[in-house]
C-alpha cells in the first residue's frame, strides 16, 4: 500500500510566521499534491507537482509556495502565515493513471493553527 508521511502532525505559529510542511512518499509516484481541508468544505487543491523541480498551481494557491526537491519529497511553505491559513493540510501522491482515474494516496494530515 502507498505510504505518504507528513510532518509535523501539529503546528502552531503566529501571524507573520514562517512555516514549512513536509511530505514524503515512498512509492515512486510521479504526482504529489497539497490540499487544505476546512470544516464543512471538501478538499481544496493548493499546489501539485508531477516530478522533481516541477510545480503546478492549484485552486487556492494564494499565500502558499511549494517545492518538489526529489521524487519523494514535496514541501509547502507559508512565508507570512495568516489566521486564514489555519486549516488541516493533506499531502497526497498518485501514479497518475489517466485524467480523473488516478488514485490519490493521502497522508494523515498536518493541523496548522495560526494565532
Amino acid at each position: 500500500e502507498a505510504a505518504v508521511t507528513q510532518s509535523p502532525r501539529n503546528k502552531v505559529t503566529v501571524t507573520g510566521g514562517n512555516v514549512t510542511l513536509s511530505c514524503r512518499q515512498t512509492n515512486s509516484h510521479n504526482y504529489m499534491y497539497w490540499y487544505r481541508q476546512d470544516t464543512g468544505h471538501g478538499l481544496r487543491l493548493i499546489h501539485y507537482s508531477y516530478g522533481a523541480g516541477n510545480l503546478q498551481i492549484g485552486d487556492v494557491p494564494d499565500g502558499y509556495k511549494a517545492t518538489r526537491t526529489t521524487q519523494e519529497d514535496f514541501f509547502l511553505l507559508l512565508e507570512l502565515a495568516s489566521p486564514s491559513q489555519t486549516s488541516l493540510y493533506f499531502c497526497a501522491s498518485s501514479d497518475a493513471g489517466g485524467a480523473g482515474a488516478e488514485t490519490l494516496y493521502f497522508g494523515s494530515g498536518t493541523r496548522l493553527t495560526v494565532l
Partner: protein
C-alpha cells in the same frame, strides 16, 4: 447530496441499515471516485466508477454513475459502526492530471 461549495451533509443511522449518499457534479466527467475519511486520518479511495460502467460493486459498497443527470451515488448495505466517516465524491476537471475536484462530503454516523 454534495457538490463544491455546498455545506457538509450529515446522516445518522442505526447499525445494520442500508444507506445511500448522493453526489451531483457540474462539469463533464468520465470518472467518479468515492473516498472515505475516518476521524484523524486522510481520505482513502473506496471505489472508482467510469462512465461506461453505470454501476460498480465492491463488497458492501455499490456505486452508480449517471452521466445524463451528472450524478453519482454510493450505497452501503448492512452498515457497521466502523463505517462512520465522511464520504467524498471526486470528479475530474478537464483533461489535466491532478485536477480532481472533491465534493463537500457527507458525514455518516452509524450508531451501534
Amino acid at each position: 447530496s454534495q457538490w463544491g461549495e455546498e455545506n457538509l451533509q450529515a446522516l445518522s443511522i442505526q447499525e445494520g441499515e442500508d444507506v445511500t449518499m448522493n453526489c451531483s457534479y457540474k462539469t463533464y466527467t468520465t470518472v467518479v471516485q468515492w473516498y472515505r475519511q475516518k476521524s484523524g486520518k486522510g481520505p482513502a479511495q473506496l471505489i472508482l466508477i467510469r462512465s461506461n460502467e453505470r454501476e460498480k460493486r465492491s463488497g458492501r459498497l455499490r456505486a452508480t454513475l449517471d452521466t445524463s443527470s451528472q450524478s453519482s451515488s454510493l450505497s452501503i448495505t448492512g452498515t457497521l459502526a466502523t463505517d462512520t466517516a465522511v464520504y467524498f465524491c471526486a470528479t475530474e476537471r478537464g483533461s489535466a492530471l491532478g485536477r480532481l475536484h472533491f465534493g463537500a462530503g457527507t458525514q455518516l454516523i452509524v450508531i451501534p
